[in-house]
């Protein structure tokens, strides 16, 4: 079988879909597409922990919000030209914070880890809301300035597309690297990982730092879409949505989370136009997918591809 083609097919689709929008997309489409790629980066970075390492963090919004606030507040204070620099500072800050939080939470197992990450995120959300003199409180921050070049939806989309693509490419390399193989090993059998001479905690912490850094980039980019940010970016429903989208798309596949985000946001947009009960419809779709296809949308397509392949592929494997 043409292995190279199979590995590259998702990338081809990625560039075809998100690249063509640069030439064909209207204002509204570009706005939606910006959200999809940025939240897609968030979800793929989250999935380094969840689908790959088997760590369910319920608090990744902390790094998303942090990235957004660092970028937003810096641009607001120092001017639009600082926006791009702030995008570089955001992941550094997030990685620093992740070392601290990771050291405290990653030694706990399963549900305790999940609960602690949730608690941290809610704590930061609380601070963000209450400390209004610094963060703008409930209102968040509006009219975040950007450099001239990035003004306008299309320019900003192209800018985001380039950064997101580089980030996703790096995460894709990680997924296929020795380190990625160790993370998958940790998910399946952490005891065995210790008994091949590797320190489980250290690998988990590095995964947590990497995931958090890329999440902050996504948060920082989001600050530029509507030029406004709000404390809800920290709140637990933000983390929860990313988890849902990842499961919807398929957590065992690298591009699954991005597909989940795209479906979720498109449904929200399309159904939201015709009924105010859109979340009910999305909920029903979620339940159906999770119950019938626990491997997500990617799982569905693989299922049918498998049925199809079995008809012709018998000769190879008698």
């Amino acid at each position: 079988m043409n292995n190279k083609l199979v590995t590259m097919a998702p990338w081809l689709a990625y560039f075809l879909i998100f690249g063509s929008l640069v030439f064909a997309g209207g204002d509204h489409t570009i706005h939606i597409a910006s959200q999809v790629i940025i939240l897609g980066l968030f979800a793929i970075a989250f999935n380094v922990l969840f689908g790959t390492t088997g760590l369910l963090s319920f608090g990744q919004a902390i790094f998303y919000g942090l990235g957004a606030y660092i970028t937003g507040m810096m641009a607001k204070s120092f001017g639009g030209d600082f926006f791009v620099w702030a995008l570089l500072i955001a992941p550094v800050a997030a990685i620093t914070l992740s070392v601290l939080l990771g050291a405290l939470s990653l030694r706990l197992s399963d549900v305790y880890f999940t609960m602690l990450t949730l608690a941290f995120a809610q704590l930061v959300w609380g601070i963000c809301v209450k400390w209004s003199s610094f963060t703008g409180g409930d209102d968040g921050i509006q009219a975040i300035p950007k450099p001239e070049l990035l003004a306008g939806g299309l320019n900003y989309y192209i800018f985001s597309f380039i950064i997101v693509t580089v980030c996703i490419y790096l995460l894709w390399r990680l997924d296929r690297s020795p380190f990625g193989a160790v993370l998958k090993g940790i998910r399946q059998n952490p005891t065995r990982i210790s008994f091949i001479g590797l320190n489980v905690f250290r690998h988990k912490l590095l995964a947590y730092m990497i995931s958090s850094g890329f999440t902050a980039v996504a948060g920082g980019l989001y600050a530029g879409i509507d030029k406004s940010i709000h404390p809800d970016m920290f709140v637990w429903t933000m983390s929860g949505s990313i988890i849902l989208m990842t499961i919807l798309g398929g957590m065992r596949s690298f591009f699954g989370p991005l597909i989940g985000v795209a479906i979720f946001i498109l449904l929200e947009d399309v159904i939201g136009r015709s009924t105010q009960y859109w979340s009910f419809v999305i909920g029903a779709i979620m339940i159906t997918v999770v119950l019938l296809f626990p491997k997500g949308v990617v799982g569905i397509s693989r299922h049918f591809a498998g049925l199809f392949a079995k008809k012709g592929g018998q000769l190879d494997n008698p």
Binding site: R173, S177, F179, A181, V182, R192, I196, G197
Partner: protein, 250 residues
Amino acid sequence: MTTLELRHVNKHFGGLHVSRDITMGIEQGELTAIIGPNGAGKTTLFNEITGYITPDNGSILFDGVEITGAEPENLVKMGIVRAFQVASLFIDETVYDNIYLAALAFHGKNGNIFTNRQTYKDVAEHCHFILGRLGLSGKENLKAFELSHGDQKVLDIAIALTMKPKLLLLDEPTAGMSPDERVKMTRLIRAIHEEFQLTTVFVEHDMDMVFGIADIIRVLVHGELIAEGNAEEIQKNPAVIEAYLGHEVL
């Protein structure tokens, strides 16, 4: 030369005394069987030696170096490697990838984040050597969960061997196997013991196997080491007959 030395090792689980003042010395190149009834503390002893649990008191020395309380991953780097009673595998991965992961760890590539894992020739050669030696060639593309029970146990040992152990500990290598598989496994253990110049310790219930291949047999009962010696000595030892075998086994 003594490879592994235990000095007055004790361990309690609540009121249960699972290791009672165990003192023993395992010589380099020895193939040792540890036998004893269920609940005698054999697996606990393995767990203490491999760093999975720490003894309450006493000390464990490896090549003359104190290792009591050391972490498993550091002991693996020193050459103490184990296989498990229930094969401990990366169950969703292929046979090849199971060994590959161990080989990556052995060659210190585990921290490489952005390199493609297929680029390491030395690692790949290492894997193919292990696959071939343990008779897993041809099965390398099967997922671990697709293997027979016997092959899963072999793969578990393959992972351990990939780490180039000096001291190899096998916890019931033939547990749950068919008679055929038992014979194969017994031969395999004897062969790799010599070929890789190992010091091997294994826990076993199958007495034919124990008396067939072990140089030295050590008997644990209720956490206590009650006898050690070669097959003949053990079979004639009154304490062993009394406490464990119940009748002379010949």
